[in-house]
């Protein structure tokens, strides 16, 4: 019966980000937060595996104290407990640091057979934390996985790569990062949300880790990716369609 850990990140919802086109500054103070999109697939896959094979699912997240809001959401998706590793300095971690923190927590405290991460986080989309974590833990990993099957003490997976499908087999314990098409995450219902409120959450602070997270990557700037567009609006009437076609002809983009 697999003991599964699933790692998720609480991220700014990029759909709420506004930009000042002239200064290319991002307005981030009014954005909402969400569980990173593909991490919902990671949680779902862990829970499905548990439903199929038994065992346990623990959700782990690293973030600033405000990421506490994510716990109920995460737990309502099925895991039975959560590890919340938080410190005010964890707001803008780079992948190397996140992986180091996760490794420190998992090594010391958790027994596991399988770790499931998302393909990449919706904000950084670095696609690094998973494979880095596997290296730090000294376990095999498989990235870009769209099918998972537990076979005794091994796990067989299908990786979707740019040149085709690769089926590989890994001994447990192992780490996989999953693609969004591996499953469709469930929408938690009322009972699941209520149950989530009663599940245990383990708070772990920076002090408890005895770890200094060295910076290896320095972000020197974040600017909006701007795009100048005309934003002309038309209706669906014949007259309007004709206008659009005329304009496209004038632009010389159709011939």
């Amino acid at each position: 019966m697999p003991r599964i850990i699933t790692c998720y990140k609480w991220v700014k919802d990029e759909a709420d980000i506004k930009v000042d086109t002239s200064s290319r500054q991002l307005t981030l103070d009014r954005v909402g937060y969400k569980i990173s999109d593909y991490d919902r697939n990671a949680i779902e896959e862990a829970v499905r595996m548990q439903e199929q094979h038994g065992g346990s699912v623990i959700a782990v997240t690293v973030g600033p104290p405000s990421a506490k809001q994510s716990l109920k959401d995460a737990l309502s998706r099925g895991p039975e407990e959560a590890y919340f590793i938080n410190d005010p300095s964890f707001a803008e971690l780079e992948p190397a640091q996140t992986a180091a923190i996760l490794a420190a927590v998992i090594k010391g405290r958790l027994e596991y057979d399988l770790i499931i991460c998302g393909e990449g986080s919706s904000d950084l989309y670095a696609q690094q934390v998973g494979p880095r974590l596997a290296e730090l833990l000294g376990i095999p990993c498989a990235t870009y996985v769209n099918k998972l099957a537990l076979e005794g003490t091994r796990i067989n997976v299908e990786r979707k790569l740019d040149d085709g499908i690769e089926k590989i087999s890994l001994p447990l314990p192992a780490l996989v990062t999953v693609l969004p098409d591996i499953n469709t995450p469930r929408l938690p219902g009322l009972k699941q949300v209520l149950a989530a409120g009663k599940k245990p959450v383990h708070n772990i602070g920076l002090k408890d880790l005895g770890l200094t997270c060295e910076v290896t990557l320095n972000t020197t700037g974040i600017l909006a990716a701007t795009m100048e567009r005309r934003r002309l609006r038309f209706g669906a009437g014949n007259e309007d369609i004709r206008k659009v076609v005329d304009a496209l002809l004038k632009e010389g983009v159709i011939a």
């Binding site: 700014k12 759909a15 980000i17 930009v19 991002l26 190397a96 992986a99 990449g120 919706s122 989309y125 670095a126 696609q127 690094q128 494979p131 880095r132 290296e135 990235t143 870009y144 067989n156 979707k160 740019d162 040149d163 085709g164 499908i165 690769e166 089926k167 590989i168 890994l170 693609l179 969004p180 098409d181 910076v215 290896t216 990557l217 320095n218 020197t220 974040i222 600017l223 909006a224 990716a225 795009m227 567009r229 934003r231 002309l232 609006r233 038309f234 209706g235 669906a236 014949n238 369609i241 004709r242 659009v244 076609v245 304009a247 496209l248 632009e251 010389g252 983009v253 159709i254 011939a255």
Partner: protein, 318 residues
């Protein structure tokens, strides 16, 4: 320090990275080293195209994955201390890069689309974040400075006259814990959507797979190819995966992009940002795609597309 290193999963990617690496090496006054996978001929090509040294990676057993090279590469990197290490951002390349970086304990810029050197000769990398809404600039504080680079970001390096270089063979890697059970190559598609002058993209606004016919007609009249959003390819599998556009899909620069029933989430827009003209058909006047479009048609695609097709037929006399 031993200059700029490049590692590509395949020939074209290695050549593209070589080109980028040569530029950096020139500015730094250093050498370029490439990795060739199993093939002596490739090693020679890389030298002809500018590499000073090529590490020839030994053969893998059939059940060994490419990622088994990681420990071998880490070993040479530890010995030679490269300044810069560029790896192609194919799925395997991204995994290998992250694992190499973890073993070396260094930073890594993922999927960098621009590289330059600053006044301290440090590598400045630009990459997208927030689904493509923002450009993040990062600098590595550790050595080697590592970056993965998406395929086709740079032009491939070309053969130069009278090139000489050293080929160093590395030992075949011992088998790791992972076993390959099967490889199913992707059926190669004949069209390359990145070359099309006109791309008509379908989104989830298209209700049924049969309805693609309707959009195909529009694409035919406009002289274009069909593209799509990620869910159309990855979840519904209505079109092959190399037809979806966006930050994790294809990046295109056509003259004209027409989005049909595409909401225009930033991750999709990131792939069409460089289109000369963007046209969108969506029934929701608040769909974000209208913010990114030059010509936005607010209406039901099932009414608009046939009209648009007819009108184009008329003016183009097709």
């Amino acid at each position: 320090m031993s200059g700029v290193w490049v590692l590509g999963e395949r020939r074209e990617q290695t050549l593209e990275l070589l080109n980028a690496g040569l530029g950096l090496a020139r500015e730094l006054g250093t050498t370029v080293t490439a990795f060739a996978i199993q093939d002596q001929g490739l090693a020679k090509t890389y030298i002809e195209c500018g590499a000073d040294t090529v590490y020839l990676l030994g053969s893998l057993a059939p059940e060994q994955p490419l990622e088994d090279y990681v420990p071998v590469i880490v070993d040479v990197a530890r010995q030679k201390n490269p300044d810069i290490f560029l790896i192609s951002a194919t799925p395997r390349g991204k995994e290998m890069a992250a694992r190499i970086a973890a073993r070396l304990g260094v930073g890594l810029g993922s999927e960098c689309t621009r590289l330059r050197l600053d006044e301290n000769k440090s590598l400045v990398m630009e990459r997208l974040m927030f689904g493509g809404a923002a450009v993040q600039t990062v600098v590595c504080l550790t050595r080697p400075q590592m970056a993965t680079i998406p395929p086709r970001t740079f032009e491939p390096a070309v053969p130069l006259a009278n090139r000489e270089g050293e080929i160093i063979e590395l030992p075949a890697p011992p088998a790791g814990k992972v076993r390959v059970l099967e490889r199913k190559p992707r059926v190669q598609e004949s069209v390359d959507i990145t070359e099309a002058r006109v791309v008509v993209a379908i989104g989830r606004g298209v209700e049924k797979q049969e309805d693609i016919e309707l959009i195909q007609e529009l694409a035919n009249v406009a002289g274009g190819e069909l593209g799509c959003t990620r869910p159309i390819a990855e979840e519904l599998h209505w079109l092959p995966e190399n037809r979806y556009l966006g930050i994790s899909g294809q990046k295109i620069k056509p003259d004209l992009y027409i989005g049909v029933g595409v909401s225009g989430q930033i991750q999709h827009i990131s792939g069409i940002r460089d289109a000369k003209v963007i046209c969108a058909i969506n029934k929701d006047e608040n769909a974000p795609i209208f913010e990114a479009a030059d010509y936005g048609i607010v209406g039901d695609l099932y009414a608009v597309v046939p009209q648009l097709t007819r009108e184009l037929q008329r003016v183009l006399k097709k």
